[in-house]
């Protein structure tokens, strides 16, 4: 009886929060779906009525669609590779006992606290500017012609900026995972004749499997939506137009809300496809 009562009381008390969250998610989703079936041009006549799937067809057949998907996947994939590989390496280093461990760990985590817009501006102006950027100085110091980072190597530049922001996150999660490894396992492997590269490969890396899949899952969700870094640096030029950025251009630059909403629905579908794959992988890892 008591549990029955407390269960219904719990439901009642959770209701406001659940309703708010549901509304928060459902209202924008419903509005996106609603607009995606309309011809809606705010500055050119406003709501021009229902058009069925025309927006969906136009969005996919536009010449910018497939390149934007490709750019999105390249950027997400590139950042994931860099952050997990360097994250594992940094976590291994930070796990070693050393002088000044506390401050060093805080410094490593620091980039995560910098807002995306700010860090993109810092990279753009301080490092990547071909005239007065630090990288340009470095290139000149070796007598080389400075690279026009954001136009000549635009996608790698953006990958670098975003990876710099997300590396601390990966490092932090992987570091805690490494610290949870039973040291007796490593000692047993050492006695079993495994030198340290093999100990890493056979013991540490499998132990990190779960943490790595969590890092990949969470980062993918956030990286699919990166926007500020592109907006501030290239403005979508030089092949850096991701799906998110394309949607932004359709809605705000072309002032075509219907077309942009259709793109938004595609983005939802893409994110869900990726999420299902990732959940499967993570689920498999969590089972063991």
């Amino acid at each position: 009886m008591a549990t029955q009562h407390s269960r219904s009381a719990a439901r009642l008390m959770m209701a406001p929060a659940v309703t708010l969250l549901l509304g928060w998610m459902l209202v924008p989703l419903a509005m996106t779906l609603y607009f995606s079936f309309k011809k809606y041009l705010p500055l050119r006549g406003g709501d021009l009525g229902w058009v069925g799937f025309e927006n969906y067809v136009r969005f996919v057949t536009s010449s910018a669609f497939w390149p934007s998907i490709q750019t999105t996947l390249v950027i997400v994939g590139g950042v994931l590779v860099i952050t997990t590989v360097l994250g594992v390496a940094l976590a291994l280093l930070l796990d070693q006992p050393m002088w000044g461990q506390g401050p060093v760990r805080i410094l490593v985590i620091a980039p995560f606290f910098v807002m995306p817009t700010v860090s993109a501006l810092v990279w753009k102006n301080m490092f990547m500017d071909p005239n007065y950027g630090l990288l340009a100085d470095l290139w000149r110091a070796f007598g080389a012609e400075p690279v026009q980072w954001l136009s000549q190597a635009s996608v790698p530049s953006i990958i670098m900026i975003v990876a710099w922001q997300w590396l601390p996150f990966a490092t932090l999660i992987l570091l805690t995972a490494i610290q949870s490894l039973d040291s007796e396992q490593l000692e047993a492997a050492e006695m079993d004749g495994a030198p340290s590269p093999k100990r890493f490969w056979y013991i540490i890396l499998p132990h990190l499997g779960r943490a790595i899949s969590v890092v990949i899952l969470i980062q993918t969700i956030f990286l699919l939506g990166i926007f500020a870094e592109i907006f501030v640096t290239t403005g979508g030029a030089f092949g850096t137009k991701t799906l998110t950025y394309l949607i932004y251009q359709r809605v705000l630059e072309s002032q075509n809300v219907g077309l942009g909403s259709a793109g938004g629905v595609y983005a939802i579908i893409l994110a869900n496809i990726l999420a299902i794959f990732l959940m499967r992988i993570v689920g498999k890892n969590l089972d063991n």
Binding site: D182, E187, A188, E190, M191, D192, G193, Y202, H207
Partner: protein, 340 residues
């Protein structure tokens, strides 16, 4: 073969000297148990032999070769850890195969050894499971299997039974003893449990604060403990110690008498006391006696059941020839007429 000699081995962690200069020889094929209270350095000593810790000074000789600077894997020793240290993402088969795989042994030989070890340890049906799906005793056996297949010169056990429940512990104790009889390989076994030490060892090394207090066969230690510490540590229930006038009667600073070496009576005897708690185990009874005027409490062990209860008056008579005499430094004194 597996003869291990420690020569003046010292281990320091920073300023703290954990193991003062220590000499010890472990003969080939011997089952040696390091026993002592927690923090006495027994595990450190084992890790020094294994090579998981570096010695600060001194030499470790295994099988005639100086192994002091050798890497752990090159010493020909296999270790079973307290947490078993199985690799959780590998099946039992791959766990057992791991040391052989690292040694680059050919697959047929690996399979042969795995089959043999699995048979000996009753693991054949579990080879394709992961350690997480096994019970504590089975995990323990996998850890032993992983050690056996290497055919090492000596096995090192670091409190291997402390994570098992009491019934399983007795079973595994027997299995390890039988394994030793069958393989006849040197084994070094660390425990804080003197019952394990007494039942399994050929040779017991009693340690306290890094010092070796006494080395000997279980019965040597039981019969002629060299000092108060060993006398109190070996034997269960503990030996009773009596200081003062009663000890002086025997010309000693302290006398000790084991609980099983006293006659008990409800009518007459040498010492008188009041029964506190009587623990009836069926096979025997432990009686804790207060108000003897000799020591805080004294314990008597009586065969079978006795009709003594809380508050009863009880008389105890020690068997004179079983009295242990210790001097003011706590060292054993010579028996009357017999040199110690």
């Amino acid at each position: 073969m597996g003869r291990i000699v420690l020569e003046k081995v010292v281990k320091r962690f920073g300023q703290a000297e954990v193991i003062p200069p220590l000499d010890l020889t472990i003969e080939d094929g011997e089952f040696t148990v390091f026993v002592g209270p927690s923090g006495c350095g027994k595990s450190t000593l084992l890790r020094l032999i294994a090579g998981l810790e570096d010695v600060s000074s001194g030499r470790i000789v295994i099988d005639g070769t100086d192994a002091t600077e050798l890497a752990p894997a090159k010493r020909g020793l296999a270790m079973v850890f307290q947490s078993y240290a199985l690799y959780p993402h590998m099946t039992v088969r791959r766990n057992i195969a791991f040391p052989m795989k690292m040694a680059g042994m050919d697959q047929a030989e690996q399979d042969r050894r795995i089959a043999k070890a699995a048979e000996a340890l009753n693991l054949t049906d579990y080879l394709d499971r992961k350690p997480g799906q096994l019970s504590g005793g089975q995990r323990q056996r996998v850890a032993i299997g992983r050690a056996i297949v290497r055919e090492p010169q000596a096995f090192l056990f670091d409190e291997p039974l402390s994570n098992l429940d009491a019934a399983l512990r007795v079973g595994m104790r027997l299995e390890i003893s039988e394994l030793h009889k069958r393989l006849n390989t040197t084994m070094i076994y660390v425990t804080h449990d003197q019952v394990e030490a007494m039942t399994m060892a050929d040779k017991i090394v009693v340690l306290r604060a890094g010092h070796i207090e006494q080395v000997g066969s279980p019965l040597d230690l039981y019969r002629t403990p060299r000092n108060l510490f060993v006398a109190g540590f070996i034997g269960s229930p503990r030996m009773n110690f009596i200081d003062g006038a009663e000890a002086a009667k025997h010309g000693a600073h302290t006398i000790g008498i084991r609980p099983e070496h006293m006659e008990v009576s409800s009518t007459s005897g040498l010492w008188k006391g009041r029964v506190g708690v009587a623990e009836h185990l069926g096979s025997d009874t432990f009686i804790h006696v207060h108000d003897t005027g000799l020591a805080e409490t004294m314990t008597i062990r009586v065969d079978g059941e006795v009709d003594l209860h809380h508050g009863d008056t009880v008389y105890m008579t020690p068997r004179e020839e079983m009295l242990h005499r210790f001097d003011a430094q706590g060292l054993r004194m010579a028996e009357v007429g017999v040199p110690a």
